[in-house]
Subunit: 351 residues, 2 copies
DNA sequence: GACAATTGTGCAAACGATTGCATTATGGAT
DNA sequence: ATCCATAATGCAATCGTTTGCACAATTGTC
């Protein structure tokens, strides 16, 4: 259908080899005459020649493609990661194929299969699960691979992720410093990497400062807004409600905020709110939310750097990177005093 | 490196043809014996055979890949489109390659080149610009193509987009119905398809109801938050400020909201706010914003449907679809009365 | 017992590029 | 005149599949 080297060869009278060399080799190496070069290039343009990367990839055993597998591309965190990775990879002359697994492990498996069938040169994957045997297999097949946004000691693969534990501790320590001791945690999906590590940080911070963990203050079960809404409502009705809420993800925080407003509870005067994750709209909420920001740009850069390294050296030592998050302090936390706490409680009863 | 059909052939004693047929043909057609099938399948599994789509694509002249080109994947609208398209395409057995052009026409051009070199079976493109000659060329080369999120009579390509003009009119008519006559429009990037069509709807609605267009009320120059912030500040300082603001995009609205809050101007009591585009966080802002929602799911479904149609029939009639947006009424618009307007004005002076 | 139909499998030519190894022509050195 | 280096190009194998055609063996039909 489309023009091939052969067509150009026929038209110019040169051999396919010569055409190939002129068009892709920069042709210095083979000392093609100027005259031939211009002639070939001209006819290539005339005929609208377009490289066939399938043929090249097959012959060269290299595709210049990187596979990217993410649980949910509509999640601002992942779409930002996507964008940064794209830019970073472009610099190195690589393109990438994205797969959205919709947080489904079976789709993830089939995505991996597909992407390997495409003979990508490398793979970046933010796995959904806690189960990594299928990923280990890729590594065992010597396909360059880096995991992002989660790491596990149970697999021997390169990884770069954000230190969720530390992030939680930043948030919690700040709340504690401001005088809070009754701090609720609204979870995301239990069992997910993000949730478990963030929960761990929550507990650790409490433990470090000698505050007992109150199981009634750990609530919730997924990363959606409705979860934040319902659990906040529930928390506000407790006999002894928390003075602060820490949510495992930003969408949860949206729901929490909504619940507070509907209950006539003011943030931060009546209750404080901090959240993990910090997408573009957080500063524009009312009030602007204090949030744990993940270093997305750095994460992407590192992921690509580690991937390149692995593509050069299949058998190097495993590399795991844990990046430091950052607490962005805005206006959703109040310094606490006992009196405020009481006012707060009465307010609740009213509703 | 990896196992090929040949390897399996060698191991089982059958020919490459037989292996191929068993593994991909469902082999009914060629009446391969049960015995052979199981034997082949077993060794394929043992050897960890993985299809090489490069070779297959080369031979079959079909890749089962669709290229997707978007201006900014981190934009919630496009990442949602992405996700919906992915799901839709998966149903048909297609994968897709995404390119983020970063709103840069030259990157767009090179992305198109790259994606065609990959011999995708089709192309979905949300072009950045108003200039479509490069896109027309693809169509001329008989590559199935559908444009999304913008359409133009100047190119002869299939397209599906949201009726921005109508969307703007929905928003404006609502504001007008609520008694507003001084309505400002904060633009996005002038010259962009999204902006011009939304602006057109703004003007049209005013015109239809006999309200004169006041040029001082059309302000702004890009889709970012800072633009919304600065322009709102400016609008509030006018001698005769608007009673309502309509923003061309949601991020602009975030900035506008922020400016109002900082100026002590309440929404909607002191000024009303409506915006185009309606991502997940809009209902959780304070106040929940009345916004024009784009039918993203429908858009994606239609885009894929039209693409499939075009892949089957290269020479059919051009098809352009214009989908209807929807106004989600929340709490950012107040019914206006002259008295309120005066109170409002005094409030402004105070700041 | 002759012939046709069916069953099960293999041969070999594509698909479009890359590249090591010729090959030819030319000029210079001896 | 002989030999060698160099310049400019061509040959042909290869990458891993798919698939039209051929072919042998078996079964069925009259």
């Amino acid at each position: 259908m489309s023009t091939t080297l052969k067509d150009i060869a026929k038209k110019t009278g040169f051999s396919v080899s010569t055409i190939s060399r002129v068009l892709h080799d920069n042709s210095k190496k083979y000392k093609i005459s100027e005259e031939t070069q211009t002639k070939v290039q001209q006819t290539a343009k005339d005929l609208g020649y377009r490289l066939n990367t399938l043929a090249r990839g097959l012959r060269m055993q290299k595709t210049y493609e990187i596979g990217l597998i993410v649980p949910d591309i509509a999640n601002p965190f992942f779409s930002a990661v996507c964008k940064n990775l794209a830019g970073e990879l472009r610099k190195g002359g690589y393109n990438f194929i994205v797969y959205d697994t919709d947080k489904d492990l079976s789709i993830e498996r089939s995505a991996i299969k597909k992407v390997l069938e495409k003979r990508v040169d490398g793979l970046i994957i933010a796995s959904v699960g806690q189960e990594f045997s299928h990923i280990q297999k890729i590594r065992d097949a010597n396909i360059p691979l880096v995991m992002i946004d989660r790491c596990s000691d149970s697999v021997d693969v390169d990884s770069v992720s954000v230190d969720n534990v530390k992030g939680s501790m930043f948030a919690m320590n700040y709340l504690i410093k401001e005088g809070h001791t009754r701090i609720a945690f609204i979870q995301g999906t239990p069992g997910s990497y993000a949730n478990e590590t963030r929960l761990q940080g929550y507990k650790l911070a409490l433990h470090d400062t000698g505050i007992a963990v109150d199981k009634h203050l750990i609530v919730g079960n997924d990363f959606r807004a409705m979860n934040g809404y319902l659990e906040t409502k529930h928390l506000l009705k407790l006999a002894n409600p928390p003075t602060a809420i820490f949510t495992a993800g930003n969408i949860i925080a949206l729901g929490a905020l909504d619940a507070c407003k509907k209950a006539g509870v003011r943030v931060p005067q009546d209750i404080s709110l901090v959240t993990f994750d910090d997408p573009v709209f957080t500063p524009y909420l009312s009030p602007p939310l204090t949030a744990v920001e993940q270093p997305i740009k750095k994460l992407s850069e590192m992921a690509v750097a580690i991937l390149y390294r692995r593509m050069k050296n299949h058998h190097g030592m495993r590399k795991t990177l844990l990046l430091e998050p950052k607490l962005n302090i805005r206006s959703s936390v109040a310094r606490i005093s006992t009196r405020k706490n009481i006012i707060h409680s009465t307010k609740i009863e009213k509703n």
